[in-house]
Amino acid sequence: MAAPRAPLTLPLTALFAAGFVAPLCVLLMLSLAAGDDGSAGLTLAQYARFLGDRFNLSVLGSTLLLGAEATLVCLLFGFPVAWVCARAGARWQSVLIFLVVLPILTSVVVRTFSWIVILGRQGLLNQILLGLGLIDAPLKLLYSEAGVVLVLAQVQMPLMVLPILTVLSRLDPNLADASRALGAGEWRTLWRVTLPLVMPGIIAGCILSFAASITAFVTQTLIGGARLLYLPLFIYQQAVGANDWPFAAAVSVVFMIAVLLVVVLLNGFGRRYEKHV
């Protein structure tokens, strides 16, 4: 009989209790505190201030939209990459994964800096497009939402590819063969057999890349510039620039709840989907 395992979690649990749960509780308390010292009762005033203002709500909305757009681009390109990876031999598979994880392991500041060189008015991409005669004047890619989505998709792509690849490589190839033997074409097999079976990996990938995209502070500020405001920069401005900690705390709590809601929603969708299959 093996020894009980639960005590092994104690050191890390202690660290998380003191360094993660406690700070988040303090954050919540500060956001609800009526007085400056946090002792004079509770109020929802900070939340009303955030949720009652159309501009603030639009920042929340555009942050969530940004995450959704980046996640979709990740999926559009990430699924084919995982599909090719799963079919490659062991050696090529290692090379492909190496290339896929390269961006996420390279410093985010470095990656973003590189995109500035590529996306600038006289950057590489505009040079290529002008050279091919596809455009007449340089496109404004830097400091645009399209630019932020593009860069986020590159940065978070591994988070989409890896979970899909894990599920794809465990898939029983007989299922797809059976579908083909029954006369379904490749596209139909992909749509009706492979995709539903890979759905858990897709959901996991979507959750990870969504969560990472909306909090990507460096990418959002450097590629989006100061005029495109998303929640992380908003919280930073309120906390450090305006020194308004209670309000910044309330916005942080709203931000976390919004992320959790999206995660729970996607998870629930995945569960329901699994039941259908």
Partner: protein, 283 residues
Amino acid sequence: MSEQTLVMPAPPLPRRAAPSFEAWSLRCVFGVLAALALVFLVAPTLVILLTSFTATESLRFPPEGFSLRWYAALLDADQMQAAAWNSLVVALWTTVLCVLLGTPAAIAIARSKSPWVRACDVLFMSPLLLPALAFGFAALIFIHRLGLRPDLPLLVLGHVIVCTPFVLRTTIAALTQLEPSLLDASRSLGASEWTTFRRVTLPLIARGIGAGAFLAFMASFDNVPVSLFLADERTEVLPIHLWQQIENNLDVRTAAASGLIVLLTLTLMVIAERTAGLTRQMR
């Protein structure tokens, strides 16, 4: 609802040419999308690497001329060097603590089904999903409430919390692939729990721990959202220093520092691949 999946519509009569065209079209579309994605994934790394060797003061690509002058200029960049040193110290401490705290927790999570351990698993993974910037801010408030000021040890603890999930994931994956009969054999031969762990379990999961340690190191070295709140002028870390450089004045020295980081990352990745089988641990 499930009828749709159970009752297949009558299959069209297989024709000779159609299936091969279909297979070809699927492969073509996916191949092209994957190829585009790979160019898209790798191009920025190559661009910054080539730009860092420019001989001029502009960041235009392709670079005009080739030189190491900006790398030489890094030798005089005192602030940047101090920031790089801080980052290295923080990342090393973070990695050590992540492994020491994460490995036992991973063993419990992989082997136990008790609700307490399940809850711990969710808790330890949540930093991956929750906005790290909100956590960084919460940690700053908490530290102020305790009457402390942010310093290096607290910065390390903050990093440990956001980097532990990486060690946990790869170590748990390695543990679940472990053959339980090996552990039974060791015990039945009279080895104690501790000896079994040291002589059987640890060598077999070492690659998983190694890959997780590498990921934790890179995540800490690269962390901005937590450092933004917990680092001050004395403990300024490299990514924040570079971020401010890029925001304020696009200096080619920053490109050289970036090139250096890319080269170091590539080297470490190759080492991690050779020693810990990085790409196999991440699957």
